[in-house]
C-alpha cells in the first residue's frame, strides 16, 4: 500500500442545508451550500465563528445528516474514503504513537509487517522519528496533531477533512505544520477540505478559498488563489485577497 495510492477524489456539495429545532424556534445553521472540490485540490473553508463551518464539516464527515441537499461521496466505513483530523487531536491515549497510526489499518486487517512498514513511512512523513513507542500524554500539541494526521493518512483515504487542525498550537508550530501539510499534499495528491477561522492560513494553503457568512451560514464567495507557493503575507496580492475575505467576515 503506497502512501498516495488512492489519490484524490472529487467532493461535491449540492444545496446543503441544516436546520436545528431549538426552544426559540428553528435555527437555520446552513442554507443552500453548494461547491465542489476537484480531485487533488486543496480547498480551505474560512468564516467567522457561528457561520456553520463546523456543522458543514460534520455533515461532510458523515457525523451529521443535512436537512436538505446532498454530499458526495458519502463516508463509508467499508472503504474508509475519508481521513478526518480534528482540532483537538482526539488521539487514543491508551495507544502509543505507532498504535494510534495503526488503528485504522487494524480495522482493515492489513498484514502486520505491512502495518509496521507503513507506520514507519508515515512517522517519517510527519516527522515523528523516535516517538513510535511514546504515549500521547508525553507529546506536545504539535506532535499530537502530527500523529492525528498520520493516523488519518494511514488508511489511505482519497479525501482528507481537517477541522481547524492547527488552531490549538502555538504560532511557530502552526507555521511548521502548515508547511508540512503542503508538502504532504504535494506528495500524496489527496483532495483536502481544510476548515479554519484564520484568513491568513486559508490564503496560504488553499488552491481555492470558500468564504462563509453567518445568519444563516452560507457561502459568500469562492476565491481562486493563483499565487505561487510558498506565499508570503507581505506581498500586495496577498494583502488584497486578505482584505477581500475580511470584507465578508466583518
Amino acid at each position: 500500500m503506497a502512501l498516495g495510492q488512492a489519490s484524490g477524489t472529487r467532493l461535491e456539495l449540492d444545496s446543503v442545508g441544516k436546520q436545528y429545532d431549538s426552544p426559540g424556534g428553528t435555527v437555520q445553521a446552513l442554507a443552500d451550500v453548494s461547491f465542489a472540490v476537484s480531485p487533488g485540490e486543496f480547498v480551505c473553508l474560512v468564516g467567522p465563528s457561528g457561520c456553520g463551518k463546523t456543522t458543514l464539516f460534520r455533515i461532510v464527515a458523515g457525523f451529521e445528516q443535512p436537512t436538505t441537499g446532498t454530499v458526495r461521496p458519502e463516508r463509508t466505513t467499508e472503504q474508509m474514503n475519508m481521513g478526518i483530523v480534528f482540532q483537538e487531536y482526539h488521539l487514543f491515549p491508551w495507544r502509543t504513537v505507532g498504535g494510534n497510526i495503526r488503528f485504522g489499518m487494524e480495522q482493515l486487517d492489513v498484514a502486520t509487517d505491512k502495518q509496521r512498514e507503513r507506520t514507519q513511512r508515515l512517522v517519517d512523513l510527519v516527522g515523528l522519528e523516535g516517538f513510535v513507542e511514546s504515549y500521547p500524554k508525553s507529546l506536545s500539541g504539535g506532535m499530537k496533531q502530527r500523529v492525528a494526521l498520520a493516523r488519518a493518512l494511514a488508511v489511505d483515504p482519497s479525501l482528507l477533512l481537517m477541522d481547524e487542525p492547527f488552531s490549538a498550537v502555538d504560532a511557530q508550530t502552526r507555521r511548521r505544520l502548515q508547511e508540512n501539510i503542503l508538502d504532504i499534499h504535494e506528495e500524496t495528491q489527496k483532495t483536502i477540505l481544510f476548515v479554519t477561522h484564520d484568513i491568513e492560513e486559508a490564503l496560504k494553503l488553499g488552491d481555492r478559498v470558500v468564504v462563509m457568512e453567518k445568519n444563516p451560514g452560507r457561502i459568500a464567495e469562492v476565491i481562486d488563489i493563483d499565487l505561487p507557493r510558498p506565499r508570503s503575507r507581505t506581498t500586495p496580492a496577498f494583502g488584497d485577497l486578505y482584505e477581500r475575505v475580511l470584507d465578508h467576515i466583518d
Binding site: A61, G62, F63, R75, T77, M80, M82, G83, I84, F86, E88, H90, F92, P93, W94, R95, T96, F103, G104, Q107, L108, S134, Y135, P136, K137, S138, R151, A152, V155
Partner: protein, 274 residues
C-alpha cells in the same frame, strides 16, 4: 558513572518521558516516607501498649499478647485454615461479582435502551445492603461456601457496576467519531476498540475498591456460621479472647495489604499511558 542514586535522579529529570519523573519522585521520597510511616506505626503501637497496661486483657490486650496469640494460631494451623476457607469464599465471590458488575456496567452505560429499561430496577436494588440478603443466601444456597460467596459477590457487583457505568458514560463522543471514521463498526467493535480502553481507569479503580470492600464483607458474610476468618473472630469474641480477635484482624489487614499491593502493581502497569 557514579552509582549514587542522586546522580541518576538528576539524569532522569532531563528526560522528556513522564514515566521517569514518577520514578524520580518515588526514589526521592521513598526513604523519607518509609521512615515516617514506620515511626507512625511505632507511635500507634506505643499508644496501644500504654493504654493496654491499665486495662484487663479481655478489654484491650497488649501488643505482645496479640503477637503471641498470632503465632499460636499460626503454628496450630488454625489460622492458615481459616485464611484458606475465607479465600474460598472471597475469590469466587469477588470474581463473579466483579465480572457481572463490569459486564452490566458496560451494557447499561453503553446502551441507552437497556439503561432506560433497567434504571428503575437498579435504583430499587442499589440501597439494599448485601448483609440484608443473608436470609436469601441461606435459603438459596444454604449455610455454606456458596452462600458466603453470594453475599461477597453482591457487594463486589455494585461497586464495579457503578465504576464501569461511570467510566463508559464519560467516554468522549469525539473518540467514538474518530474510531468510526477509521472503520470501526457496530457496538461490539466500538466497545472493544474504544469504550473499554477509555473506561479502563475507572473500571480498574472500581475493581481495586471492590477488592477491599468485599474482603471486609468476608467477615460479615461468615458470621452466620460458615467457617473462615469471620467465624473464627466470632467464636473468639464469644470466649472473650480479644487477643485472638485482634490477631485475626491483623491477618485480615495483612492479607488485604498483600492483595492490594499486587493489584496496584497490575493497575500501574496497565495504565502506563494514563
Amino acid at each position: 558513572m557514579s552509582t549514587d542514586p542522586k546522580f541518576e535522579i538528576d539524569r532522569s529529570a532531563e528526560s522528556p518521558e513522564g514515566e521517569l519523573s514518577v520514578r524520580r519522585r518515588l526514589v526521592t521520597y521513598d526513604y523519607r516516607r518509609l521512615g515516617l510511616g514506620v515511626s507512625g506505626l511505632f507511635a500507634f503501637l506505643l499508644v496501644w501498649w500504654v493504654a493496654s497496661l491499665s486495662q484487663p486483657a479481655f478489654v484491650l490486650p497488649s501488643p505482645p499478647a496479640v503477637a503471641e496469640s498470632f503465632s499460636e494460631e499460626m503454628s496450630s494451623g488454625e489460622m492458615p485454615t481459616a485464611l484458606r476457607q475465607s479465600l474460598r469464599h472471597w475469590i469466587p465471590g469477588a470474581v463473579v461479582g466483579t465480572t457481572l458488575g463490569i459486564g452490566t456496567g458496560l451494557a447499561l452505560g453503553w446502551s441507552r435502551l437497556l439503561d432506560d429499561i433497567w434504571a428503575p430496577v437498579v435504583r430499587l436494588l442499589r440501597p439494599v445492603p448485601p448483609l440484608a440478603l443473608i436470609g436469601f443466601a441461606i435459603a438459596w444456597f444454604g449455610i455454606n461456601d456458596t452462600g458466603a460467596a453470594f453475599i461477597i459477590a453482591i457487594g463486589a457487583f455494585w461497586i464495579n457496576f457503578y465504576a464501569t457505568y461511570g467510566g463508559v458514560e464519560s467516554v468522549s463522543t469525539d473518540l467514538l467519531d474518530v474510531a468510526r471514521s477509521l472503520g470501526v463498526t457496530g457496538n461490539l467493535g466500538l466497545l472493544r476498540s474504544v469504550v473499554i480502553p477509555a473506561a479502563s481507569p475507572g473500571i480498574l479503580t472500581g475493581i481495586r475498591t471492590s477488592i477491599g470492600r468485599s474482603w471486609m464483607l468476608v467477615v460479615a458474610a461468615e458470621i452466620f456460621g460458615v467457617p473462615g476468618i469471620g467465624a473464627r473472630i466470632q467464636r473468639a469474641s464469644n470466649n472473650l479472647q480479644v487477643d485472638t480477635v485482634i490477631a485475626y484482624i491483623l491477618l485480615l489487614s495483612l492479607t488485604f495489604l498483600v492483595i492490594d499491593t499486587l493489584f496496584r502493581w497490575i493497575q500501574r502497569r496497565l495504565l502506563r499511558w494514563h
